[in-house]
Symmetry: C3
């Protein structure tokens, strides 16, 4: 949360919310789900800017805002407008005709909240992990900026994940969560896993992150994770096999993420990925857990990441988890636009 009283509250990562705010938010999410909502967002407008495609995030965010009585403006960089410059001080004689600082200031005068899905450049993890684009938006916007998944964080998914974990497990302290790497030809950045890991640790969960060698999470994220674990009596360990990860877990969270070592080299990345076998969650794997439930942020590649039998079986929480995107985003919008 910003220290300047007049600056808007952004949500770039989950820790932008105070513990009390996060508690409120989860309570409100559950209430929204039980009772629906007819909150006073009438006349309010959310601007949605997509520099990458989206199905779930876009549909759930639009539904949340319009079902609260507000409206949304959708802009897709590819179809609707243009590239934006984010370097400060540059001489703008290249391709982008407009600077993020100008777009942010102008859009702030039209809408009440800005939700942004930036597109990492993909040339260097050291550069992309800084999330410069979304931070630049937040610096210059005069309304709250919500991160709809940057290279490093996906706080909206983490809100829905926390809500789902709470519905499934009740009190989270001491419960066991296995985050397991799965194989996909189109892996995402570890943003979902980073946000989930920190969220789970801040609630006192015992987390294991199973993945093959070469798929280690970002060192900065892991350092913060260790600190969070110590603060909250939680624990985190990484790099074990799928079976070791799942053993004894109450929830198995499957997710494919790219190797940060090969981040800018798709050919090497494809080779490394193709060498990994056996990283699919099926009924045999899930049976290693403690009546484990399955979570996945979707999109999910069936029978490659998770088997049909698990996804369509009684242990799957994936649709509940996706539905919770709607409720938790309603709660977030109510909280952010209350001011």
């Amino acid at each position: 949360m910003s220290s300047q009283p007049s600056s808007p509250q952004h949500l770039i990562r989950l820790s932008d919310l105070s513990p009390a705010q996060l508690d409120d938010l989860l309570e409100l999410s559950l209430r929204m789900k039980r009772k629906g909502a007819r909150a006073p967002q009438s006349g309010k407008t959310a601007g949605l800017l997509f520099f990458r495609g989206s199905l779930r995030t876009r549909a759930s965010f639009e539904a949340a805002m319009t079902q609260l009585g507000g409206s949304t403006i959708n802009l897709s960089a590819a179809a609707d407008f243009w590239e934006l410059e984010s370097q400060v001080g540059s001489i703008m004689d290249g391709k982008p005709p407009e600077h993020v600082k100008d777009a942010a200031a102008v859009m702030s005068s039209y809408v009440n909240v800005l939700a942004i899905r930036p597109k990492p450049a993909g040339n260097s993890w050291a550069v992309d992990r800084k999330d410069t684009e979304i931070h630049t938006w937040a610096s210059y916007a005069k309304v709250p900026v919500i991160n709809m998944e940057s290279a490093l964080w996906h706080p909206l998914q983490a809100l829905a994940d926390l809500m789902t974990l709470r519905e499934a497990l009740g009190e989270l302290r001491g419960k066991e969560l296995a985050i397991v790497w799965t194989n996909s030809p189109t892996p995402a950045t570890p943003a979902v896993v980073n946000s989930l890991l920190h969220a789970a640790l801040s609630r006192g969960m015992r987390v294991r992150v199973a993945h093959p060698a070469g798929f280690e999470l970002d060192a900065g994220v892991l350092d913060e994770a260790a600190t969070l674990a110590k603060e909250h009596g939680a624990s985190v360990s990484c790099g074990m096999s799928l079976a070791e990860g799942v053993r004894g877990a109450q929830v198995v969270y499957a997710r494919s993420w790219m190797s940060l070592e090969d981040y800018a080299n798709p050919t090497l990345a494809a080779t490394r990925r193709s060498r990994q076998t056996g990283w699919m969650v099926d009924e045999r794997t899930l049976a290693l857990g403690a009546e484990a439930r399955l979570m996945h942020a979707m999109p999910v590649r069936r029978n490659l990441e998770v088997s049909d039998a698990v996804l369509d079986g009684p242990r799957s929480l994936v649709y509940q988890q996706a539905e919770n995107r709607l409720h938790s985003q309603k709660a977030l919008l109510v909280q952010l636009l209350r001011g």
Copy 2:
């Protein structure tokens, strides 16, 4: 209509509506047109998924929903998200990162109704005629699925067509309808004609379908047409010349459709099409009818399919027909979302 009481009512083809429902719908459409509507769709959301482009369908559907007080979420596969897998049980290591069954289940938790325009693959009529994609959506959706034109059916157009025929002719039983093939370099599938043919026969009309050799309608659709004709005291005949088709007709419905014989072979199709001459509706043609009115589902290629003089003349119903898309879709939404 589905036999399971708890499953939603879909509209993949017109016969998904019972005769009583269709009667209600037509009455409601006419009432909507006369009196406008301020129906209680406030807080309700329609999800629109376009796998192919659209002007009329998209604009009229959005206008219908928002003028009823609801809101719409538009997703275009090309710009906004990605390809979806529709084969059940496949190992998803190809291009589509998500399965229709998952997209359908998730979208069902965000919206109250899903309207979908699939894109036929175009490799085989025997395959595309199954309309697998829209049926898969309907199987897994928990909200009503509306077909916004598949390979085989276009029920929304047929609703507006029936409404327009009724406005123009009053009682339809025994009236003569000529459906005539017209020449266009970008013909559609026969979906519009299929839905119209069945709709007209189920209202007891006498229908002639004029077309050149090689442009025969789908055999399965024609078999059903023969059955419908018998049930409803209607009649259907096909394959005559333009002049024979129009002679004595009260309504001439012009439409270009592709040859199903050359369905997967654009080169052959272009050659076959270019050999057809004289398949344009002009004033001389129209004069063969019985004070015949012209209908066309649009987009219409002027002076190639229908002459300017006819389209802009007093016999043309094309704008009334297009406007009726709005009213009949409002009525449909009211009917489907009433439950």
Copy 3:
């Protein structure tokens, strides 16, 4: 304004508004800005058609309509539908499957107002300056058509510009406005400048248009400008250097526009443009004015058209000007939809 009482009022260029209407509009714009608005556009729909991309125009127009209680339908030619034919009487066997006259008539039955951003073909200024496409839309539409920037005019920008000039300068009569050409690799047509020039002259301002040789404005626009200057006791002169233009000006309006001489020849145009140096507004330039304020319609290329120091300094009106798009468009919508 049309002479036929039953035809809708369009806004293709600012002079489509009577002086009294323009006065009302400016008053209403300022009132909207002070007090917000909850005007009765509920149940009304605006159709937005983009044949070229847009950020500010689209976002501000959508925000205006939805904050007034109405809704918008956005259609982007690239993503959502198709090319349209605008020649009357043509045999439509080419690429466009639909005629503007049909699209205009049909869309008129779905929405209450149509806002259109056409895409000039770019092959000939003599052809594009006719703005055939938007005039064809206006001819056949049965609802008001609003020009969201054609080759020749950008009346929505001019409304916001007038509002901003009035806020900054009070009474405009006799005040000095410098419109100065700036260098950009992606210059626009002179539409913004044309509309601004006529607007400023019709309010009695003394206008200088500074630009390099070869960047003369359209001769027809300049002829009308001379007439307007005479009628309103204003003055206009063109073609001086940047310094001569700015000297003594109260407002400096920076804008890059393309050379009409090289209009259809991008290679020649790039060469001509690259020869221009020193056409950037920085603090030293601005100091030549009379405590001059800076305006720019955006997008602005920083440190190429205008320096960071000026854009981010106390003399800049650019964000106020962009915000005024929202308020003046609300006022326009209220005025056009009142009928």
